[in-house]
């Protein structure tokens, strides 16, 4: 019995202790919770920070109808807070609340570093907020008119607004953002001129281009067989460098066909190209001393429609069976239709194109293919004039420069990732902007 009573006492004592502990824990929790609640309350009631250092100015380097707004980030901004950009016409604002809200976005968005300004035109540091107001999409900004703009910080129902700032959108005469492009173009132009002057002083080595060496062979074969030569200048018009290159090579080919007294057929897709090529062919025959052999209709127009042209040229190939087919210039899906038909007639086929997407077809079906810039190099290769050869050297120097920058950039980017360093990013950003 005594043992039982003792056990009961122990249990009672344990229950009391448990109760005391629970009470203590509850009190501690309540006490510790108080400042938490108090803090939250204080936070919601803390006044919103005004957008600081608000600046509004005409967006530089544009065609007008645009204003750029900049302001400093507030310490309390977050994804839950918002910024509003407000606009009104005129230099004075009687009631800021009446201004039109033209943009609203979360407080942790739209920073200068997110924008695409290159470093030489960046108006401020990357941590500042930036918003560009543009004409259109609900906003009407007229060049020369004064506008008042402000930024409001918004959190739940609260909104605080900075003092409106005035600005006038204006069109600009120079796009400074693209000065990198101009500088690189001038630099490349300078390199080309330098290379030309060098080429005038000493001979520059040109590697062999088998496709161009084969031109004579193809014309010779056509002469032996008594069959004509078919020459195409591609799908583009005279404004395209590939067509110009094709026309230049036509001059050389026509000179040889005139010398060998072989027929030349040049079907065209574009009338202006046809007119230019007629002149070039005529001149080539004159220079070869065979003006009487020149035929006005050796250059003829078929149609500008891709597949109608293809069908017509395929027909010419099958009927006249030319001994050599030249495909110079830019081509699309018609490339294989032409070259495969040409191959079926047993003609020697020489292609030269900057259409990278058609290269596989030319390579598989033609005897020789000039790839990419080899088409542009053809003129230099055939003439060996210092101007032409020098330009080629200039291109090579330009290519070496680009390759060098790509190499350095790759090493820097790899280094940055491997060692988790930030400094390579500075150089890479610089490269990105200059490109």
């Amino acid at each position: 019995m005594r043992v039982k009573r003792e056990k009961l006492n122990v249990k009672r004592e344990q229950a009391r202790s448990a109760f005391r502990i629970s009470l203590l824990v509850a009190i501690v929790l309540c006490l510790s919770g108080l400042p938490v609640f108090a803090q939250t309350d204080a936070q919601t009631k803390r006044p919103l920070s005004l957008p600081q250092n608000l600046r509004v100015f005409d967006t530089p380097s544009d065609g007008g109808g645009s204003l750029t707004v900049l302001w400093s980030p507030a310490p309390d901004e977050s994804a839950t807070s918002k910024y509003q950009v407000l606009l009104s016409e005129g230099a004075t604002v009687s009631d800021p609340a009446s201004m039109k809200v033209v943009a609203e976005f979360p407080g942790n968005q739209r920073y200068v570093h997110e924008s695409k300004w290159p470093w030489w035109t960046k108006p401020t540091t990357g941590d500042q907020h930036q918003f560009t107001l543009k004409n259109g999409k609900g906003v009407e900004l007229k060049n020369g008119n004064v506008y008042s703009i402000t930024v409001a910080a918004v959190l739940n129902e609260d909104r605080v607004m900075a003092t409106p700032v005035q600005a006038t959108p204006e069109p600009n005469w120079i796009n400074w953002n693209q000065m990198n492009n101009l500088l690189l173009a001038l630099l490349f132009g300078g390199i080309v001129f330098y290379a030309i002057s060098t080429a005038r002083k000493r001979e520059i080595f040109l590697r062999r281009i088998p496709g161009l060496d084969a031109v004579d062979e193809a014309i010779g074969r056509a002469t032996e067989l008594g069959k004509p030569i078919l020459y195409m200048t591609g799908a583009h018009d005279m404004s395209d460098p590939s067509t110009i290159a094709a026309a230049v090579i036509l001059g050389r080919v026509a000179k040889r066909t005139a010398a060998y007294e072989t027929d030349l057929l040049v079907p065209h897709r574009e009338p202006i190209t046809m007119a230019v090529c007629q002149e070039i062919t005529k001149q080539a025959y004159l220079e070869a001393g065979k003006p009487d052999l020149y035929k006005e209709d050796s250059n003829f127009f078929i149609t500008s429609d891709q597949f109608s042209y293809t069908a017509a040229v395929d027909g010419i190939m099958l009927r006249k069976k030319p001994a050599a087919n030249f495909y110079m210039g830019h081509y699309f899906a018609e490339a294989l239709l032409l070259t495969e038909t040409g191959a079926s007639t047993g003609a020697i086929q020489i292609a030269g194109t900057d259409a990278d997407h058609q290269l596989p077809f030319f390579v598989t079906t033609c005897d020789y293919t000039l790839i990419g810039e080899e088409l542009y190099a053809a003129s230099a290769y055939l003439s060996r004039e210092p101007v032409q050869v020098g330009t080629l050297r200039g291109q090579d120097i330009g290519k070496a420069l680009i390759l060098g920058v790509i190499g350095v950039g790759t090493v820097l980017a790899t280094f940055g990732v491997m060692f988790d360093s930030q400094w390579p990013k500075l150089f890479l950003d610089c490269f990105r902007d200059v490109k």
């Binding site: 799908a235 429609d305 891709q306 830019h330 899906a333 990278d356 997407h357």
Partner: protein, 281 residues
């Protein structure tokens, strides 16, 4: 002439017959193999999905009837998607020979989706100039197209409300079969007038546009019939592209088999020639 040599010089009409049968049979008896969605097609789909109702979507149907089998299904899927999202659709073509076909596809899908001409969509038709049209539209859309394809003045059309130039377009997709096409829309459009651009093209052209895609100059690419089939699956409306994928599968497989065969014959004839050379020596 030995068997291998004869096989190497096989009449190409036999190859044509094989390809013809490989195209025809799956079209008559479709299998319906599953199609995986690629990131580049999803890029276009996701961007259209992200557009709010009433946003302007420009679709340039830059192809002619020759590319119809590949680009027509792409245009149908894109239009269905845009209309389903209640976007304001501005359609046009830069290829004169594609004008009638473009008008047909826009009208047909709009009718199917219950959309009204002038209010929900407009087909601007064709204007001469190619790339110059893009530049002109970037300056002033109404200057480039004073009237739509049906001759109705474009100024005041509800569908073009708030649209002055290409700068006001939320998203543009060019379905191009050549030039002018996706590249020209980038160079003369997006680069100058800053709008989001996606592309669609024939299968042959697709590899050539990957550099644009990789550099973010276009945000998605629908390549050939395969791309069209993927888009049909994404919008859950299977059509001609999905049906054509079996035929494409069979022809690809046939070409692979032909290439392997020709290489076997080639190596066999080469080793025989070597053996004969050794025997002769």
């Amino acid at each position: 002439m030995s068997f291998t040599e004869r096989m190497l010089k096989i009449d190409r009409r036999i190859i044509f017959l094989v390809i013809g049968l490989c195209t025809l049979i799956p079209l008559l008896y479709p299998v319906g193999l599953p199609i995986k969605i690629s990131q580049e097609v999803r890029g276009v789909y996701d961007h259209i999905e992200s557009l709010p109702e009433g946003a302007t979507f420009l679709l340039s149907l830059d192809f002619d009837p020759a590319s119809k089998p590949e680009l027509h299904p792409q245009s149908i899927s894109l239009l269905r998607h845009a209309f389903r999202k209640n976007l304001r659709v501005i359609a046009l073509t830069l290829w004169v020979s594609g004008t009638g076909m473009a008008d047909q596809v826009v009208t047909q899908v709009a009718r199917e989706m219950g959309k009204e001409n002038g209010k929900d969509y407009v087909f601007l038709g064709w204007s001469p100039g190619g790339t110059a049209v893009i530049i002109n539209m970037g300056q002033d859309l109404y200057g480039a197209f004073p009237a739509d394809y049906n001759g109705k003045p474009t100024k005041g059309l509800p569908v073009l409300q708030g649209v002055q130039s290409l700068r006001d377009v939320n998203y543009a997709v060019s379905l191009g079969a050549g030039r002018p096409g996706v590249e020209e829309w980038y160079v003369f459009g997006r680069d100058k007038y800053k709008f989001e651009l996606g592309g669609g093209c024939t299968g042959v052209m697709a590899p050539g546009l990957y550099p644009l895609l990789r550099s973010g100059q276009i945000n998605g690419l629908i390549g050939g019939l395969r791309g069209a089939a993927e888009y049909e699956i994404l919008i859950d409306q299977k059509g001609k592209a999905v049906a054509g994928m079996d035929a494409q599968s069979a022809t690809h497989l046939a070409i692979i088999v032909l290439v392997i065969m020709c290489n076997l014959f080639y190596f066999s004839s080469r080793s025989r020639a070597r053996q004969q050379g050794q025997a002769g020596a």
